[in-house]
């Protein structure tokens, strides 16, 4: 048996998987390229030179600087952060639920976070910070409701998912109801927000999100080690010394917080939490949860989707949630055809 490649740096001794490393670097490169393209593109097109100049406030075009620094850059950074958060959340919940389709956007957490935010927007006229808080409360509230309803002398993964589906359906209806009953101006904002969009991303949105992720993402990475082992079943995990219940609780808290923060920033965006972790795993082929690769994949997907959403039917701007949803549909079809071929 070959020795595993290990990277040693002082007290740190971690395994290095060449394929995962390559994939990670490739994704990072893709993110950088897409960032530059996204900042260049738009109704006020810029060349690379102008873009770079505007980025570093070195150019002589104040309009370009405004667009780049004031609008496009925050939008792009927000997209990256949101993609990162959603993917990590999905990477947490899919193994927890024991099912690749047990993703937070399917079991209602995303919708619940949206409900919380919508309540702020339509009933209390809240600003971005209040909306973010509303989303987090909504997300946690939904998670609590789903867990309580699914609990019946123990928590079976499948019951959790099914209850989540039911709760998601109800909350989706509630969201539509809130929009219908809201005052005209609030309804506009709400309806737009509900579709998921980066159109109104500001630096303050980015700041709040980045702050939250600075805590949550490292926590998710640290927790992903025991999570990987927990996929072998609770008893096997206890057997190798994992404290299953506390770890699970921590994972749920981090996962819900991630999806709530992401939803607060850009509205409910579907399918990234579902698809990013799985796509990343297919590429890296690594066992275990692959949190970092999933996060990078999510960031890239959202960035790419936002670009498509802006440019596909220009000047009509599609909401990014619609693009990710459609891409998600294609992803599912691809999964299907693979299954067909495998079982045929």
């Amino acid at each position: 048996m070959k020795r595993k490649r290990v990277l040693v740096l002082g007290p740190l001794s971690v395994r290095v998987r060449p394929r995962s490393l390559t994939v990670g670097i490739a994704l990072l490169a893709a993110i950088v390229v897409l960032t530059v393209v996204a900042v260049m593109a738009g109704d006020y097109p810029l060349t690379i030179g102008q873009t770079l100049a505007a980025l570093f406030s070195a150019g002589d075009d104040p309009l370009a600087q405004f667009f780049v620094q004031g609008q496009r850059l925050p939008r792009v950074v927000c997209a990256v952060l949101v993609g990162l958060a959603l993917a990590c959340s999905g990477a947490i919940f899919q193994p927890l639920a024991g099912n690749p389709l047990g993703s937070p956007d399917i079991i209602g957490f995303t919708v619940g976070a949206a409900t919380g935010a919508l309540v702020q927007i339509t009933l209390f006229d809240g600003g971005p910070a209040a909306t973010a808080l509303g989303a987090v409360l909504g997300g946690f509230g939904t998670a609590l409701v789903v867990y309580l309803l699914a609990w019946r002398s123990g928590l079976a993964g499948f019951r959790l998912v099914l209850v989540g589906i039911g709760v998601a359906a109800v909350l989706q209806g509630v969201n539509s109801l809130l929009v219908v009953r809201a005052s005209l101006t609030a309804a506009q904002t709400a309806a737009q927000w509900l579709a998921g969009s980066f159109n109104t991303s500001t630096w303050s949105d980015v700041a709040i999100t980045a702050l939250a992720l600075a805590v949550l993402v490292p926590a998710a990475v640290v927790l992903s080690r025991p999570l990987g082992a927990m996929t072998m079943g609770d008893e096997a995990a206890i057997g190798i010394g994992i404290r299953v219940e506390p770890t699970r609780l921590a994972l749920v808290i981090v996962g819900v917080a991630l999806v709530s923060v992401a939803t607060a920033a850009a509205g409910p965006i579907a399918f990234v939490a579902l698809a990013a972790p799985q796509l990343a795993r297919r590429l890296t082929g690594a066992p275990g949860v692959g949190m970092i690769a999933a996060g990078l994949m999510g960031a890239m997907l959202v960035l790419a989707s936002d670009l498509v959403a802006q440019r596909l039917f220009a000047p009509t701007q599609l909401p990014v949630g619609v693009v990710t949803g459609s891409l998600g549909g294609l992803y599912l079809i691809w999964v299907l055809t693979r299954e067909w071929r495998r079982n045929a």
Partner: protein, 347 residues
């Protein structure tokens, strides 16, 4: 799981079940009539019932008369017909897949139909229901197959959980695609602004006459399949041993479901949970004999849908909340209660 009652089973004690059945069906009929009447009276322009009665027989060209005759009557009739279709298609699917959670909304069938409709309108630009109805059927059938296959990944037959998950995933994807099409195509946008959430508003006689025929055919097929479904409820092999032509029955059910769910969706858009909750109630009242469950569902489901629509007209008066939203909010808890109650087979 639901206890299977076969035609050859020993006769059930007549008192208990017979009585429940009778009152259940009588109650449903009464509710249906009452709700239909209410549906004619309630709305952004409320008309008292005695007025309604008068206007029904002697239309006098007034605004109220036109509201009753041109809007509420077709709307009510449409809801009745569509409700029947949704309820029975749910009952059929639950029986065939032996899965209490099967519902054309949950399993993505309605979503598939809606995508096909919206896509057809966007691509061909025609908005006549006679045109896109066929796409709805195809979409419903495709949706059913896709969800079935996705739910069976890695195994030979899908468990209830995987089917539900697959259905939800597909529904989400599809609704995003539907949104994309609607937002990018003016024709589709105008025609389907409200329809996409499930709405009976502004759907008049043309829609009704278009779908009614197909729904009736679907209902007839369903009723004829009743006895065969009873036998099949014991399992495929047992059913075969009892002489059921399994392949034929399965094809018949799929055809009926495609007709019913497709027509219903083409008429008023995708609706969730009616096909889930009503058959469950029907089985609670009538036992699991499909020869009773199907007719009971045919009567109770329209009542449920009418109730949801009426609530939708009242709750945000004078604006209307689409009936699809109401069925989601009211039906979701039923779904959850079902999940909690039943011993759902694990993965």
């Amino acid at each position: 799981m639901t206890a299977a009652a076969v035609a050859a089973a020993p006769p059930q004690p007549r008192r208990g079940v017979g009585r429940r059945r009778f009152w259940g069906i009588a109650g449903s009929v009464a509710a249906l009539i009452l709700l239909a009447a209410l549906s004619l009276a309630v709305g952004s322009n409320p008309i008292p019932l005695d007025e309604v009665w008068r206007l029904l027989w002697t239309p006098d060209g007034s605004v109220d008369a036109s509201v009753v005759h041109d809007q509420r009557i077709p709307r009510t009739l449409l809801l009745v017909v569509v409700g029947s279709a949704l309820g029975v298609s749910g009952a059929l699917m639950q029986s065939l897949t032996r899965n209490p959670l099967a519902d054309p909304g949950v399993l993505g069938i309605n979503a598939g139909a809606s995508l096909a409709v919206v896509g057809a309108v966007a691509v061909f630009g025609l908005t006549s229901i006679w045109f896109f109805l066929w796409f709805a059927f195809a979409g419903a059938a495709a949706g059913a197959i896709i969800v079935y296959v996705l739910g069976s990944t890695g195994r030979t037959s899908p468990t209830p959980v995987r089917l539900a998950l697959a259905g939800v995933a597909i529904s989400m994807a599809v609704s995003s695609l539907v949104q994309t099409v609607i937002l990018s195509n003016q024709n589709a946008f105008n025609e389907f602004r409200f329809w996409a959430a499930g709405s009976a508003e502004g759907r008049g006689f043309p829609v009704l006459t278009a779908v009614a025929g197909f729904i009736v055919v679907g209902l007839v097929i369903a009723l004829c399949l009743g006895p065969a479904l009873n036998a099949l409820a014991l399992g495929e092999e047992t059913g075969r041993a009892l002489g059921v032509r399994v392949g034929l029955v399965r094809a018949g059910v799929m055809a009926a479901v495609a007709l019913l769910a497709g027509a219903a969706t083409a008429a008023i858009g995708p609706i969730m949970f009616v096909g889930l909750a009503v058959p469950y109630l029907a089985r609670a009242l009538c036992g699991s004999d499909q020869r009773w469950v199907l007719p009971a569902t045919m009567i109770a489901a329209p009542a449920a849908l009418l109730a949801a629509d009426i609530v939708g007209r009242v709750i945000a008066h004078p604006a209307e909340v689409q009936v699809g939203i109401l069925t989601a909010i009211l039906g979701g808890p039923v779904f959850i209660a079902l999940v909690r109650r039943r011993r759902i087979e694990a993965l």
